[in-house]
């Protein structure tokens, strides 16, 4: 009789463990998805801030048309970029570069620099760049935790049959993108 009870206890233990593993994987996967959507939220924030910035600069440095155009163009291209993480990341990098040039040239226009609106925008955009970077960083951390939970023993035996796929990391796909865009005067 005791042998039967022991068997029941063991089976119960195994079932509870499997439920625990499954739920843990689900939770981590959802955290990863949430982190991914955060990146898009921050990217959108940047798109929304740029028109305001361009208008402010135009008021003081109208003949820097070239730089301003470049920023607007880069923004529109980034918004339109569809084809996948690689292409999108490249478009975003170009936009970052154009913005950096814009801020660099504000050094030549002390009136513009003194403009409170401009400096506020500068802080907002700097913050947005940081947020995009941190959102990506957090996504990678969440993905790493999920992948770790997925691949370690004994979870790995179940992950496949339950349909938990590996999460890709947010990486710069082409070596060119690793180069920091240089600011030229």
């Amino acid at each position: 009789m005791t042998a039967l009870w022991i068997l029941i206890a063991v089976v119960a233990l195994v079932v509870v463990s499997i439920i625990g593993i499954y739920n843990g994987l689900v939770r981590k996967r959802i955290l990863t998805q949430e982190a991914w959507s955060q990146i898009d939220v921050q990217l959108k924030r940047r798109y929304d801030l740029i028109p305001n910035l361009v208008e402010t600069v135009k008021g003081y440095a109208a003949h820097e048309k070239q730089t301003l155009e470049r920023v607007i163009q880069a923004r529109n291209q980034a918004m339109a970029a569809g084809g996948g993480v690689g292409e999108k990341a490249q478009a975003e990098n170009i936009l970052s570069g154009a913005l950096r040039q814009l801020f660099a040239l504000s050094e030549n226009y002390p009136d513009l620099k003194a403009n409170q609106n401009f400096s506020q925008l500068q802080e907002e955009l700097a913050s947005t760049e940081n947020r995009i970077a941190f959102a990506r960083q957090h996504y990678n951390a969440a993905a790493a935790e999920y992948n770790n939970a997925r691949e370690k023993f004994p979870n790995n035996m179940l992950a496949g049959s339950f349909g938990f796929a590996k999460q890709e990391y947010f990486e710069l796909e082409e070596p060119l993108q690793r180069q920091t865009p240089k600011v030229e005067f």
Binding site: Q42, Q120, E123, A126, S127, R131, F134, H138, A142
Partner: protein, 309 residues
């Protein structure tokens, strides 16, 4: 071999675990020994004493768990900060919340010129971070990020909750020792007559002496362990700050500036000191960490951060 913040965090977690275990062992042994003396050798009574002490500790803990943060904010004269008041501070905290996947905490500023910052709140949903005007004015954006990341790490690691637990347990342990020593002083040796004349009188005497000695030493030992844990969590928050910002230089720079400030923070006390980023009380010791400091030596903290660069 380069140190990374991952290894630092792992090491700190291990040390915390060891220290907490030592404390629990101390607590249980003291409870058992005292129960033993009081009951004249009754095992069940001894265990009962240890258990009751544990239950009382838990009840006190519940009270402070739900009581908590508002008291501290009140006595520190902290004012809430809105995004319009200080966009840079708000942005820095929001950015770090993103990095840590945490809800954005409430932000407060303390209108004092002394340089310091603290975090409070029992879990990330109820978290509050505060910074003094003195520190806010003197840090660059990068350094501000480092300081706020340190405070957010305290929240992330549930250090405030941890500290509350430790304080309650130390308190109960001190009460228990006190109670026991008083019972010895006033009660005399009444209990020894209850023994019913069995042998082992010498063993009981030895146990009695051991218990008395431990009851005197336990509060000091408990305090030492509590302070060692406090220092451990500070190191862990420094490493946690790097985990969030991936930039040790920000916090290192801020700590360097903090080490040169000798001003005392008026509204801090011995009880609240562990929550601040650096010891807010007078006479920050020039020598390295003593057994009784709540915070590690600043130079040591800066060195550990620079090792991560």
């Amino acid at each position: 071999m380069a140190e990374t913040f991952y290894t630092l965090i792992a090491r700190n977690k291990r040390n915390s675990f060891i220290l907490v275990s030592c404390f629990l062992v101390l607590f249980v042994i003291l409870g058992l020994l005292i129960g033993n003396v009081w009951s004249g050798g009754d095992v069940y009574f001894s265990v009962g004493v240890a258990v009751i002490a544990g239950i009382i500790a838990f009840l006190f803990f519940l009270v402070s768990y739900f009581g908590g943060s508002s008291v501290l904010l009140g006595i520190s004269h902290a004012m809430p900060v809105s995004k319009a008041d200080d966009p840079q501070l708000y942005n820095v905290v929001e950015e770090l919340s993103l990095a840590g996947g945490l809800p954005v905490p409430k932000i407060y500023i303390i209108e004092e010129s002394a340089m310091n910052a603290f975090a409070t709140g029992r879990d990330p949903k109820h978290a509050v971070v505060a910074i003094t005007r003195g520190l806010r004015e003197r840090l660059s954006r990068e350094e501000l990020q480092g300081v706020m990341a340190h405070e957010l790490s305290h929240v992330r690691h549930y250090d405030i909750l941890f500290g509350m637990m430790m304080a309650v347990m130390v308190g109960v342990l001190v009460m228990l020792s006190d109670l026991f020593l008083r019972s010895m002083w006033y009660g005399g040796n009444r209990r020894s007559r209850r023994r019913g004349g069995q042998g082992g009188g010498a063993a009981m005497l030895v146990l009695l002496i051991v218990t008395i000695v431990l009851a005197i030493l336990a509060p000091i030992l408990a305090k030492i362990i509590q302070l060692a844990l406090s220092r451990q969590r500070e190191y862990m928050s420094d490493a946690g700050a790097v985990e969030l910002t991936r930039n040790p230089l920000g916090l290192a720079g801020a700590l360097t500036k903090l080490s040169s400030d000798t001003q005392v923070l008026e509204t801090a006390s011995r009880a609240t000191a562990p929550l601040y980023i650096v010891n807010p009380l007078k006479g920050r010791p020039k020598r390295a960490t003593s057994l009784f400091s709540t915070h590690p030596d600043i130079q040591d903290r800066i060195q550990r951060l620079m090792n991560l660069v």
